[in-house]
Amino acid sequence: MAPPSAMAPSYIAARDVTKVFDVRGRDKVHAVDPIGLTVDKGEFVALLGPSGCGKSTLLSMIAGLTPATSGDVVVDGRAVTAPLTDLGFVFQKDLLLPWRDVLSNVLVQFEMRGQRTDRHRETALRLLHSVGLEGMERRLPHELSGGMRQRVAICRALVHDPPLLLLDEPLGALDALTRDQLRIDIQRIWSRDRKTAVLVTHDIEEAVFLAQRVIVMTPRPGRIHADIPIELPFPRRLEVKETPEFLGYVRTIRQQFEALGVIHED
């Protein structure tokens, strides 16, 4: 809850950030009330909250895609005033280009930057293979399942080896089994590279399973309600979900949401 110290050598530092949407003809919508948030280099943080709590807006402000109404965001020592380009972004929709095959959808990361793609083919192929997509390189997106498509989107976000990974409900559109598989994939990739990662989700289990720290947000206007370190050792396997420690975290967080009135029994 306490505002972070300005001296902290954090990779991401949001200071008193607010976002007010001016909806014409209506009252102003306070999407994000003053938020202070820091993320260390190499840390995996989850922003957890109900729909419409401003967590995606906060992520968007970190990326420089949405200007903050007040306050400031610093990433890697520089104030964010324009879209950051040295990051990977995964959205809920896979946003694959339907006219491009899988490999070309990953390499679009370089094409958009005006770079040649040929020297990055090997990296792209290696990444695709590491998430179980060997043999799929020449398929078009419509020939793939939702989980495979989202894996391609994850490869696209990683292929240029960015230091920061932003995940905006990346598994929200997938079925439960596929979601479990992708959580394992995401965790393996993160454990390997230790990139700074911020995950936006409304799934308590997902946040606890993936993150080192879970930030619990209040309903709109979004504020930080609790900041809970998850001290489960990595690598975490699916079995961890049945351990008392894991269930303890899930219960603690659910109680927070109950206290906030987000969940009620009757």
Partner: protein, 260 residues
Amino acid sequence: MRTDVIRRALGNALWPFISFGAILLAWELVAQLGGVPDYMLPSVSQVVERGWETRDLLITHGRWTILEIVGGFALSALIAIPLGMVIVTSRLLERLLYPPIVALNSVPKVGLAPLFVVWFGFGMAPTIAMTALVTFFPLLVNTVMGLRSVDAEMIHLARVMAATRLRLFLKVRLPHALPSIFAGLKVATSLAVIGALVSEFIASDRGWGYVLVSAGGQLDTALIFAVMILLSAVATAFFYLVAAVERLVVPWHSSQRQPH
């Protein structure tokens, strides 16, 4: 496998063949036995006979009309599609240009044919202008809609990939808009035929539209039917030609996929 494909194609062609055959047969029977005078409803055989007799005339005038249809269509596409691209590049241009263009669309355009005679004279020019005018709006609107319909998050993604506006346009917006642009082109094919025909009614002494008017004046109903059948065939062929180009250009789009 190849014979399979051919058999399926033949199977697909069989049913419309039967329905068309039934319609022609019914027409022939009504015309021959129904007591309807020939000048009201000529029989199919009379129409075919009249069409064959006048084949030189039909070919000469047909060439003229087809040239006008394709010319007007092409002119319209060359203006409307780039204009649509310009309109979506800036909010200002969109607010400036789009409302008056949409307002102009409510003008019943074929009513302008006499004005086009005054402006462009008699012959091919007013007809090409009319054809271009009636096909203009669906082409423009479909281009604008297609270019605009890109997901907002896709734009965000492109921005964090450091895409310039030009690259965003070429690699995302334009290919994304192609199915919509082709939908506009397909609608425009039948409008182009109507535009050319209406203009020829009053602004030309050549073309199938002119043939229709003069045949009507002489109660030459068989010739009218012959021309109408040819016009429908040309409109259908034009539509499928555009559809074939679409299959080549946007094979990835869901509308082009073969059902499994």
